[in-house]
Amino acid sequence: MKKIKLKKGEEGLSHIPNEELMSLYQTMVKIRGFEERVSSLFSDGLIPGFLHLYIGQEAVASGICENLSKEDYITSTHRGHGHCIAKGADVKKMMAELFGKETGYCKGKGGSMHVVDVEIGILGANGIVGAGMPIAVGAGITAKTNNKGQVVIPFFGEGATGIGYFHEAVNMASVLKLPIIFVCESNQYAEFTPRETHLPVKTIVERGGAYGIESFLVNGNDVVEVYQTMKPIINRVRNGEGPFLVECVTNRWSGHFEGDPQRYRPEGEIDEWKKNDPIKNFRSILTSEYHIQESSLVSIEEAVKLELDEAEKFSRESPFPNELSTLEDVYA
């Protein structure tokens, strides 16, 4: 296990070009904005079903996917909006899918838990905890066969390490030496259950040794640390090493799903976490340490708001699918 500690403003930091810093910030703001927007639309009754929000965890998906291209693959989870946005998904088609509209990514057949964009390597959010990991193993076989340096990243939470999929997939990927980085987002809760109740180990990275793979523990609330830790690991995978395991420690601000009153959480816990807001923290070092102009950040924020306004308008105005389309897309 390797614990990466980078001090802010020191080694490596200055090597991040401004456009990447801005891109990281833009992704984080877009994820937060998307989640807040759909939460409100859910309250208004415009989005049905279950929504699992990514608020509080934005640094993880953003920092990782900044290193990826559309040729790389990810598998995601029930809490997948952040991963999809960071991988480049179109928020119009995502939001329309949440509305259940014809213009959504899945023509209204999947919903929040099943956003897929094959063209840019999103092999699906997934409603079954842990199920994306073996699917990533298969994408790893494709990547290895293609031999073009593609990387596969299955995202999952620490709760998913309780299901057999984690063991089977990491074990198989290690045996077959596949170009995969297993990324565990430890957001401290498995649905309603805190990690100390369901995990007998302090960290998930401890488990990597059981599969003979190198593992890395990262502060998942620090986008710079995530980005800089992942960059060399991803490069190693592109050059034929792997698999690896990375644990990003973060917090989930929202409930397991929208409408979850979170009575299982100690009073004040979320407020405490909010003091360590990954977006606010990053914004402040962008201006203080990287000397990015405040006006540049404001224009990113405004552009994101505009993009989300358009996505909402598009989603509201899009038609529902024809009911007979229920019968389509069962078989190829």
Partner: protein
């Protein structure tokens, strides 16, 4: 040429792998060991370990890997050693493979084949002898194939590998040694096209898997009693060739469905329901089903013999509904 059922499958795999470099095999013991029933023997020597992959004992990850590999451009043919073991990987079959295309609004195609073998008759006991096709038959999004002879096994497997959907290819372990005439040149057998194994006019017998051969074994006794049976082998239960079955029943007015799976909730129940819904007026007698009792498959020889439907069970079912002056059964 005259070859065995197991060799016919081996030949289909080899020929498809020669023809298409995206086809690969994975599963437990399929490589150096050549498969626990010898079906993949010799393939690793010809195609190497990158295309004939020995996996850990991880059925869920094996199927999941096929989902991931097929959705990213390869054509995996995976082996689940015994059909009983599909219970271990049902999430990947039912929630992932069967639904990915639908959930993604038609974005994904999953050209994968799950080869497995089921059936009783080898005293393999309750966890190694089941016929679980009805569980799969119930799930939209997968195709289910049950070859009853070497010719069909080869032609149907080639179709399965070339199909762009998840296909469960159910071999019958009692048939592995069965010899049959198989052409040397390339051929395929379309899905959803039943085979009229024997023409007849008095009663239609729809039989699947090794029950086709039991039905053929009953023919002579039936003819000695003045009964001309038409035997139909659906070959694929999803898609099911309902037209051929209906045409036959319209001609004979009587229907018997035979499978070695448990009778209750079996494929026969659906065929019977469909016939009475659609062509009730053509029926001259109640539809009969012949299937196994509602118990696990027992181990001991006399118990397993009692359990497995045989030609006498078929003859008795025919006797029950072929009453009247024209049949000599009636006079007994």
């Amino acid at each position: 040429m005259l070859i065995r059922y197991n060799k016919a499958i081996n030949n289909a795999l080899r020929e498809e792998m020669q023809k298409d470099s995206t086809v690969f095999i994975a599963g437990e013991d399929v490589g150096n060991a050549g498969g626990s029933f010898g079906i993949t023997r010799g393939l690793i020597a010809e195609f190497g370990s990158a295309r004939v992959i020995d996996t850990p004992i991880s059925e869920s990850a094996i199927v999941g890997m096929a989902v991931g590999a097929s959705s990213t451009g390869l054509r995996p043919v995976i082996e689940i050693m015994f059909m009983d073991f599909i219970a271990v990987c049902f999430d990947q079959i039912i929630n992932q493979a069967a639904k990915m295309r639908y959930m993604s609004g038609g974005q994904m195609a999953l050209p994968l084949v799950i080869r497995t073998q089921g059936g009783a008759g080898l005293n393999a006991g309750p966890q190694h002898s089941q016929s679980l096709e009805a569980l799969l038959f119930h799930i939209p999004g997968i195709k289910v194939v049950m070859p009853s002879n070497p010719y069909d096994a080869k032609g149907l497997l080639k179709t399965a590998i070339r199909d762009n959907n998840p296909v469960v290819f159910i071999e019958n372990k009692a048939l592995y040694g069965m010899k049959g005439e198989v052409p040397e040149e390339d051929y395929t057998i379309p899905f959803g096209k039943a085979k009229i194994v024997k023409e007849g006019i008095d009663v239609t017998i729809v039989a699947v898997g090794q029950m086709v051969n039991k039905a053929l074994a009953a023919v002579e006794t039936l003819e000695n009693n003045g009964i001309s049976a038409e035997i139909i082998d659906p070959r694929t239960i999803t898609p099911l060739d309902t037209d051929t079955i209906k045409q036959s029943v319209k001609k004979t007015g009587r229907l018997i469905i035979v499978h070695e799976a448990v009778k209750i909730g079996g494929v026969g129940a659906e065929i019977a329901a469909m016939i009475q819904e659609d062509i009730f007026d053509y029926l001259d007698a109640p539809i009969q089903r012949v299937g196994a009792p509602f118990t696990p498959v027992p181990y001991s020889k006399p118990l397993e013999n009692y359990y497995l439907p045989n030609e006498n069970d078929i003859i008795n079912a025919v006797k029950k509904i072929c009453v009247g002056r024209q049949f000599s059964f009636a006079s007994h």
